[in-house]
Amino acid sequence: MAIDPKYVGRTYGPYKYEVGLEKLREFAYSVAGGAPSTGFTGGPPPGLNPLLWDEEAAKKGPYGTVIAFPTFPVTFAIKPFGAAIGDKDLGVNVLMLVHGEQEFELFDVIRPGDVMTTTGKISKIYGKGGMDFLVVETESKNQTGKLVVKGVWTAVIRQK
């Protein structure tokens, strides 16, 4: 059963997310193959760029603080995408769903203490080759009102 295209334009949010130093580190550790733990286990995986975890090195670096790994927005900017997928009106069968495509446009770095506000809207619904495509576009701004990241999230759902 195809998703009704009348839902294009439906919006979700705003969702607030508080960025913490330890979470930035944990995310960076996990991408680099290490356990996402800063309090329990040992330090970062060997060779991890210090700008992602070392406050002293980051202070002297180009950004002045530890910064997020560039795909860190997946931890908070996904909310509207999840909301659309779970929206009972759309009737998406999650058992038939895979994450098909992802895009980020990054306008600034993300730092500890930033407060991100994310909104999203369904931008496209279409069918192709026996699959439904659901595309959600998100915008996340920080506490100064600056647009920091735009996301385009595409789910592909097998029609039954």
Binding site: S30, G33, E103, F104
Partner: protein, 130 residues
């Protein structure tokens, strides 16, 4: 350390999906979809077992350039289609090539393949500040 980046410049990156990587990435990112952490769910879905989160493969795509530039703050755009699942034991090789330079940024296209030579991403591309 400035890298001499020109059209045609290439760089590579490699990552292996270890047994614990989907668990580590679940903890780091919040994606606890059972298909990534429960072999039984993966088998029932016809995948043979767990598969790695697509966004981890996507993060490793970003790593390709953050490692090359030794600066994780320079990516302006990143995109990719997820074309094939990645499973425990897969080693992914990312091969990037600079295809254009303009306005203080370079564009790179990236081919990501597993150890069998199968592409796990399609249309992978980056726009990065110099």
């Amino acid at each position: 350390m400035a890298k001499d980046i020109q059209v045609g410049t290439t760089f590579k990156h490699e990552r292996t999906c270890t047994k614990y990587q989907p668990i580590y990435y679940a903890g780091g990112s919040g994606d606890f979809n059972p298909i990534h952490i429960d072999d039984e769910v993966g088998r029932k879905a016809g995948l043979g077992g767990v598969i790695l989160q697509g966004l981890c493969t996507f993060a490793w795509l970003a790593e390709t350039v953050t490692e090359f530039q030794q600066d994780p703050g320079k990516i302006r755009k990143i995109r990719a289609r997820f074309s094939r699942p990645v499973v425990i034991g897969d080693t992914l090789t990312y091969e990037a090539k600079v295809t254009g330079i303009e306005g203080g940024k370079f564009h790179a296209e990236v081919v990501a393949k597993n150890q069998k030579g199968e592409e796990v991403l399609k249309g992978a591309a980056l726009e990065v500040s110099l």
